[in-house]
Symmetry: C2
Subunit: 324 residues, 2 copies
């Protein structure tokens, strides 16, 4: 018997296209390419939401690393395995006879498998200063950034479950938190609400209902906010940070297009193997319902997705080559 042709049954396009160049996407690329797959990553920006955070302290192995530095390390790691990277937006993804077809701008691509690592975007307040001071006191992640507000006064915008939960968490670090809620009262009840009320009674949290942020001020870092209505006779608050918890929007449009199963929250549903409901389509990171919205979770899920894409490609090749 002769040796099988190593390219027998191999897909004519890429083995794997990863959509998204944040930690989930780059980790999927590393994992897939390491097994020998031909991998292309198409993302709108390297690093994704990593870049929102000045300092990451909860990615084990990096005691302190900037989002941009971690992103660079992941990119270098992927390039070291011969991964091709393209900065572009994928406009279209469709299943084809032997995998998937993608369009990004004027280019089209084919691949045997895809990993969707398109992330989620935090809902923005949409006020002056927010974008400019993002990562400089304006944050969308208390777990990431609250420790850097130790002993300082901050504002937290939001009134839902996660806002209240994160306010309680942030109170472990910040000296005082102004919780600014644009509704008449806070939505959560139960334990977390009680905790918040205890913190409020202790003067650690001040809940300001029926108000909002008009502008975030500061030159190179947050110095304060201007409120929509005066509070205790003042138009604003002097604070060192603004945490924004008014929800996130998973970037699951491409997944919807191929009819992958989507959760009530708009996340792509995955199992432990990062499989979506569409064969050959895997998903990882913040766009999924699969775990924590943290870089280490994205890296882990991406690694799993890349490995499972490898297994999928090999099974498909064997089928095409008539081996099974």
């Amino acid at each position: 018997m002769k040796a099988p042709d190593p390219r027998a049954g191999r897909h004519p396009g890429r083995d794997l296209i990863v959509i998204g160049a944040g930690p989930a996407g780059l980790s999927a690329a590393i994992s897939g390419a390491r097994t020998g797959l031909k991998v292309l990553v198409i993302g709108e920006a390297f690093g994704g939401t990593l870049n929102l955070t000045d300092r990451i302290e909860n990615y084990p192995g990096f005691a302190r690393v900037s989002g941009r530095d971690l992103s660079q390390k992941l990119e270098d790691h992927a390039r070291g395995y011969g991964v091709d990277l393209l900065i572009d937006r994928v406009d279209n993804l469709v299943p084809s006879e032997e995998g998937f077809r993608l369009a990004a701008g004027s280019k089209t691509f084919r691949s045997a498998s895809v990993v969707l690592a398109t992330g989620a975007r935090p809902k923005k307040l949409g006020v002056p200063g927010e974008e400019r001071l993002s990562g400089k006191g304006v944050s969308y992640c208390a777990l990431c950034d609250a420790p850097s507000f130790r002993g300082k006064k901050i504002v937290l915008a939001g009134g839902g479950e996660s806002a209240v939960k994160e306010a309680v968490y942030a109170a472990e670090h910040a000296e005082k938190i102004f919780l600014i809620n644009d509704e008449k009262s806070l939505r959560p009840a139960g334990g977390v609400r009680l905790q918040l009320e205890k913190l409020a009674a202790a003067g650690r949290v001040e809940v300001i209902n029926g108000n909002g942020i008009r502008e975030i001020e500061g030159k190179n870092k947050v110095a304060g906010v201007v409120l929509k209505k005066p509070h205790r006779g003042k138009n604003g608050l002097e604070v060192a940070g603004v945490l924004i918890y008014i929800g996130v929007v998973p970037n699951s449009g491409l997944a919807r297009g191929i009819r992958a199963e989507i959760s009530d929250r708009g996340e792509i549903m995955v199992n432990r193997r990062c499989e979506t409901s569409v064969p050959g389509c895997y998903a990882a990171g913040d766009v999924t319902d699969g775990g924590w919205k943290q870089a280490i979770a994205a890296a882990y899920q991406g690694t799993v997705a890349g490995w499972e894409a490898f297994n999928y490609c090999r099974r498909a090749e064997r089928t095409r080559a008539g081996l099974e």
Copy 2:
């Protein structure tokens, strides 16, 4: 209303004791301590099975790092958050009225919560040279080490599902693999067996049933093996690597002692939150049934376990303080 005493309801011992100082345990410690928990890690050796591997290339962010270096980074990261580390073996773990009691040597400890990150040990062949050349060509992880055998001949010891699967994977890298199986035939059937047979037909894999390794030879790195019986008229094989896949043994003895649910394979059963069946007891890494046996998986699970231990401690404190 007065401010609650910040120590009200706080557990008199540690908030969290992590058992095991590999990537799962150190990551749990980082995650727990970062939220403000008082954390102690007790482990038999820093790094755990990380130290079995000379080079790790699939931990996203580190293109190439030695097991010992990654372990050192994790240790430094944990120490940076004030985690206490003790190198010792935990001999006893018992649930107590307010959490857990532990004994390590002559010392005893109390904690509100525990994370079991005790890892798994690969089954050893138990032959001369194996221990001495471990990490120098002797490996228990094809995924970790097969790429370093590119273009070389190696031996893979084992005949079960994982041995055959890993032989197929290793054949993506190694020039030739001698699969040495001490039984009369290979156990797996189906697709993976077919793949192996195609590789065998192509001369990429040679299956040697009913034989075994008597000794592993080499001065500073593996140079060959001595077989139990002659093969093709020779007493041994010249190879650059020996992959050993004869099973692993999860170190789940402490978990069994507190009657945590254990899988058929001896692993501690955990859900996505790394909860075991015992309240306040979490588990992460290779000792669990929760995922891949890789450093990145351990780091992720440890991070989740530390965070969930924090949530558990805060709930327990509120109960003790009469807040809920």
